[in-house]
Symmetry: C2
Subunit: 477 residues, 2 copies
Amino acid sequence: MAKEKKLVQEITSMEEDFAQWYTDVVKKAELIDYTSVKGCMVIKPAGYAIWENIQHELDRRFKETGVENVYLPMFIPESLLQKEKDHVEGFAPEVAWVTHGGMEPLQERLCVRPTSETLFCDFYQKEIQSYRDLPKIYNQWCSVVRWEKTTRPFLRSREFLWQEGHTAHATAEEAEQRTIQMLNLYADFCEEVLAIPVIRGRKTDKEKFAGAEATYTIEALMHDGKALQSGTSHNFGDGFAKAFGIQFTDKDNQLKYVHQTSWGMTTRMIGAIIMVHGDNSGLVLPPRIAPTQVMIIPIQQKKEGVLEKAYEVKGMLSGYRVKVDDTDKSPGWKFSEQEMRGIPVRIELGPKDIEANQAVIVRRDTREKIVTPIPELEQKVAEVLETMQKEMLERARKHRDAHTYTAKTLDEFKKIAEEKPGFIKAMWCGCQECEDALKEEAGVTSRCMPFEQEEITGTCIHCGKPAKHMVYWGKAY
Amino acid sequence: MAKEKKLVQEITSMEEDFAQWYTDVVKKAELIDYTSVKGCMVIKPAGYAIWENIQHELDRRFKETGVENVYLPMFIPESLLQKEKDHVEGFAPEVAWVTHGGMEPLQERLCVRPTSETLFCDFYQKEIQSYRDLPKIYNQWCSVVRWEKTTRPFLRSREFLWQEGHTAHATAEEAEQRTIQMLNLYADFCEEVLAIPVIRGRKTDKEKFAGAEATYTIEALMHDGKALQSGTSHNFGDGFAKAFGIQFTDKDNQLKYVHQTSWGMTTRMIGAIIMVHGDNSGLVLPPRIAPTQVMIIPIQQKKEGVLEKAYEVKGMLSGYRVKVDDTDKSPGWKFSEQEMRGIPVRIELGPKDIEANQAVIVRRDTREKIVTPIPELEQKVAEVLETMQKEMLERARKHRDAHTYTAKTLDEFKKIAEEKPGFIKAMWCGCQECEDALKEEAGVTSRCMPFEQEEITGTCIHCGKPAKHMVYWGKAY
């Protein structure tokens, strides 16, 4: 037992130090490694396989709505970045600059894309002439660079992977519709696949994307009560179109500006999975996103027939992503590893089980043991994975609801902010002074104005003037 | 007829000007667009969809051999790039340098990866301690940057997409085996999926990868008789391991250096598909790689029942990638577009066909028309796609063989090099002086020393000393 406990003991408990627990899990589950490049990470096979599943599932959902994939350059000439005023102000302080190509200095320096609005605009300006060229519903999968000062694996790093959708439409209505459609797509994906419940809403003007008319967001609550912005969808109106001169001749023969959107989701969702579902034994992966869904662990595998049976069972489960751990480690060590890596289900199978024509299914999240006759294994595994997926979402939702508070007075607001990590729902007048003051006085930021509004009180929690919006507030990653 | 001819007339004929024909096809088939970023391209939906199919098929084949995907940073600190002497000499002249992050100059400048050997070595140096950690069979899909002076769409651009596999092994034998295995995987992929026949062989020392002990290559012949290096696989021996100190404790308790390989294939394969299969009507895509395999074009689509029947036929072909062109363009224009885009098969379907319960299948490559009863469409389409795939490979092979010449004397060699575009097979003594001289005197480079050696003469084509290798020579992209 000493040996198998060791792996687990190497991770800090989340109650003791959540940040350290997170870093430990990221390392011990072999998701990531640090590199010689400051602020940049290696995404290792176990981490990248999760991203591949995220990509696969998102890409499928995108294409069902008519999205086409493209690839644009990773470099943006400085003059292009500067075309939209708010946008350059938002991003210029945190871009990496290429100044030399080979041995020679460049005539104009290039930044490594922090996001590609300006490149898509430059592209669309040439591509779009007529209403017949619209809409453009393009997306790219790529990496982007933002020169962050402090970094954390998956959550904030100088380079990260994402997809960025960029669309152009003939009308404002169509652009708004696409913006909301993609936000809902992200929300459904989070809930159905990652088992992460999210609040859907709109960002305040202060928190919106540099250059956007409106930014919509989905906000998730991590186990420690901090919020994580999990996906955003921006409506640019015709602001970029005017800055870049993207015009088309409409059916009525009038020259008009296009309306644009962009929307993105990143590798930080792997961080969200860890912080929503993980426990003190490591990662817990929702079955639908798990690269390996079932790990078969033979007991006394050197005894005749055990390994054969393990592979026979694997063959029975061909509809799932199944592995057999036939390494020469002890079963206990293998259990710890499977738990650390968050594999949803393990099947224990030893000589006595084989004699009784049964196996033991163990759920990663509840650790429930289910002795199952081998002929019924396939059906039982299907059932367990389905139940686990559902219950993980429910558990996360309960946790979030239990950590969502309502404040009616400023004192109450401050007290909650200080003592109870989680979301605070409170009314707001809509002015940035109050938003700034709440950050200053209570240390929280506005997460979003949720689509599902409630009227808690009639007045702003800070200034007492008539309230315009109910807002989710919180501390955020 | 005037209108439908127009689209085709916009491309230069390949006999007139092959380079211009290529550029025209790339633009008119909507594969690529130029950008404000000099030397960088936009890969448009029709081009990117081909790359997605290449990725999908290669990735599946990789994983069958045990490859795992990872992601490493796009930046390489200058000191890291310099660790392996030959490598830095090969790449330093053509890298892009990042010198500023945000508003501040960097302490050490970073290059944007031109290839990631140095990063993988840095990573492996920390990851590998014991023989138990071996082998590492990692790959990444990413973009790389090489600051080329002259660029051409897909064939040579400052940024391109590729995969780069990087492996580490306990023994030299295992590394060599993996190097050859991946070269054969590339060759099979080219022949089976892209219908491009390739010569498998080894590069001369002059042409090998910077830092490699041996570079293996597959070489394809384009329609104009120029060669295209289509995939390479490198065996590094323990050169990089020694430069980076990648050591492991072997089973015999001895500290040993690992043996490494790397192998890559890029978006230039899209250029190869164009230049091997294209014709004067545009692109011709092999069915297995075509994003759309069948385009159904309704004739007189406004007549009752025509569009319904077109969609019914699409439903019958659910095993294939099928679209219906129901735009309001003329059928002739649609034919031209389908041909320009290289969609392997079109199905023409009009009121008279429907009355006769038939449709007309037209093959893109041969333009053969096959009148087919509708109930037999599915089987016939399957047959036509299969035949077309096979015949495209055969046609390309015949073309290559017809443009492969054998030279026994230097005069003969020079005459072929001057007059007959294609491969020249000739014997070589193995010294770089003769290789350099043949480039100087005949304008060709060594493409590879093929695995299938023949003895044409006993002596080097240039110096007359005893020959060591039969070499394929040619002009290359």
